[in-house]
């Protein structure tokens, strides 16, 4: 079923390939080099393998809509607040232009897609951040959409899934974007008080204000293999401390070791793992 969906949504798959994969030679239409194992791989093999390197299990980025197809039963997804789009609250220079160009490019209105659907028959609320849209940064609209999704989860008692991938707060919305960290976190506190499970899924990259708010607040925190996860980005840290960072620093496996991630789950097993978790929460 997944393969079929991927074929259907081929547009997304190829977008991700052209923007994220590095090419080695003129055959770049067909072959790419895996950034992790450095091997040549046939592009189509990656695409048909959920954007996962068939040789080393490296997880390439996956477009947000494909993630929904991956996890939500066919034809059950109902999007929430699809029309909500960012506004230039601070009259920040060139922000409007930037927004419009991302809207054109991604055919999405914001850096998060929220909605409800069924996961192997279980009603869930799902938010998927879209790192193709302004690096998945969180401004007022992203914060609002996530907050409303949590409220939807609260009202309907559906478990909540948030798939993060973000560069952090959206600087063009200044302090308002910072405050979205508090806004989303406090909404999660209401969810927690009502004992509705929230599963946070961290994908490459999850940093900044998203890491420092809802992404780290899951009842269970799942990471995809080798995803970059941190508060400060590695370059900023390197500039600050003026020394090299240890191998594997801020990767999923490191966070597991340090005690901040519950499990690392490959894309292929994600839906079933979520299903098992919800079963263990009486769904």
């Amino acid at each position: 079923m997944i393969k079929k969906l991927l074929n259907k949504n081929k547009e997304y798959a190829s977008v991700s390939v052209s923007t994220n994969f590095s090419s080695k030679n003129l055959d770049e239409k067909f072959w790419i080099v895996c950034p992790d194992c450095n091997k040549d791989i046939f592009k189509k093999d990656v695409e048909e393998n959920l954007n996962v390197c068939p040789k080393c299990n490296y997880h390439f980025k996956m477009p947000a809509r494909e993630r929904i197809s991956l996890l939500i039963d066919e034809a059950t997804f109902v999007e929430l607040d699809a029309k909500l789009s960012a506004r230039n609250i601070l009259d920040f220079p060139q922000y409007d232009e930037k927004l419009n160009s991302y809207i054109d490019k991604t055919k999405e209105n914001e850096a998060v897609i929220t909605g409800t659907g069924k996961l192997n028959g279980i009603d869930v609320v799902i938010c998927v951040m879209n790192s193709d849209f302004m690096m998945g940064s969180m401004g007022a609209t992203v914060g609002e959409k996530i907050t409303r999704a949590i409220e939807y989860s609260l009202e309907n008692k559906f478990p909540l899934i948030i798939i993060s991938s973000s560069g952090g707060a959206r600087m063009q919305e200044g302090i308002v974007s910072l405050m979205q960290m508090a806004k989303t976190s406090q909404e999660l506190s209401r969810l927690a008080k009502n004992s509705i499970p929230y599963i946070s899924i961290l994908t490459d990259p999850t940093t900044g204000g998203v890491t420092a708010s809802f992404a780290m607040l899951g009842d269970i925190i799942i990471a995809e293999p080798k995803a970059l996860i941190g508060f400060a980005g590695p370059r900023v840290i390197q500039q600050t401390i003026k020394q090299n960072l240890p191998e594997g620093f801020q990767r999923s496996e490191f966070l597991l070791e340090q005690g901040f991630v519950d499990i690392i789950v490959s894309r292929q097993d994600m839906k079933n793992t979520l299903y098992r978790i919800f079963k263990m929460h009486n769904y």
Binding site: A140, I175, S177, L178, Q186, A212, T240, F249
Partner: protein, 314 residues
């Protein structure tokens, strides 16, 4: 300090001139009182003019200046008694955040704040007011104690941001900040936060999920530093002043954005010119808010805080 002097340069020049006139008048026994009076009036106008028209970047500089009063200074001035408490009960006592219990006009409160140093030595001890995760976890522990004993919480915000480093990441800087945001939202006691200097991003907000947010007049609060923004936008950290102009980071900006509830006035020249006065203003504000919240139930206090943040941005 440098920037402070820069801002004050015309003021100092005029002050020097007045001194000269006075000296001259005395030594030469010439009556210059009319001239001196005019110059003094001019001085007052100049001061007002400068300090009421500080550019955002000047405010950034002022908010960071070494002689700006810190959390400790205000605690000393507003509390009749205060006991500093230490440690997160997990890993360390992070000295970039201080906290404890105190009495303000006989009311028990918990006070927590970022702590910068005024000397290099002290700044190294305080890590320049940039907390590690253990700082936020200490703060949370003290807030939960306050909650348990029904003590209002006052937080002073004054940090360039949460520290960026290997240890901070290893011990979950993101988790620590996130946890505070979540836990602060369910505190049953009122939280009054006051930005006294630099309100730097998530590292500031981790002490700032409050019922009322006040800012000292010349303090700033922003999602990123002007230097950071300028290097992202223009690959050039030196354009910080331009960045500051577009960031909306002054107390006035935040008040107009409905994020700040109160601007606490500073004397001309900044808070360091009269700590006593600023402390008095802070104290009055805090007491009046605590008195207001006394009338609310626990649930109402939580709801009040919730609504404050729920509406931001929409």
């Amino acid at each position: 300090m440098n920037t402070n002097l820069q801002i004050d340069k015309p003021i100092l020049e005029l002050e020097n001139k007045i001194e000269e006139f006075k000296k001259l008048s005395k030594e030469s026994n010439i009556d210059l009182s009319a001239e001196i009076k005019i110059l003094s009036m001019k001085l007052e106008n100049l001061k007002t003019d400068i300090y009421e028209n500080l550019t955002p970047w000047q405010k950034v500089s002022l908010s960071r200046s070494n002689d700006r009063p810190t959390t400790q200074d205000y605690i000393e001035h507003i509390c009749s008694d205060f006991i500093e408490l230490h440690g997160d009960r997990l890993f360390k006592d992070d000295k970039s955040i201080i906290g404890g219990i105190g009495l303000i006009d006989g009311i028990p409160v918990t006070i927590i704040g970022h702590q910068k140093g005024k000397t290099v030595k002290e700044n190294i001890k305080r890590n320049f007011g940039m907390p590690h995760p253990e700082g936020y976890r200490k703060a949370l522990r003290l807030m939960k104690e306050a909650d348990k004993f029904d003590r209002p919480i006052i937080t002073f915000i004054d940090t360039p941001g949460a520290y960026c480093g290997i240890g901070a990441e290893e011990r979950g800087q993101g988790e620590a900040i996130a946890r505070n945001l979540l836990e602060m939202s369910s505190l049953k006691v009122p939280v009054i936060s006051i930005v006294i200097g630099e309100g730097g991003s998530g590292g500031a907000l981790a002490l700032g999920v409050c019922n009322k947010l006040a800012m000292l007049e010349h303090s700033i609060y922003s999602v990123i530093s002007p230097e950071g923004l300028s290097s992202i936008l223009w690959k050039d950290a030196s354009k910080s002043s331009e960045a500051a102009n577009i960031m909306k980071l002054t107390s006035k900006d935040l008040y107009e954005l409905n994020i700040v509830d109160k601007i606490i006035k500073e004397p001309l020249g900044g808070a360091q010119k009269d700590i006593g006065l600023v402390s008095k203003n802070i104290k009055e504000y805090v007491i009046s808010e605590i008195t207001n919240y006394k009338k609310l139930s626990n649930d109402e206090i939580i709801l009040d805080r919730y609504e404050k943040f729920r509406k931001i941005g929409y």
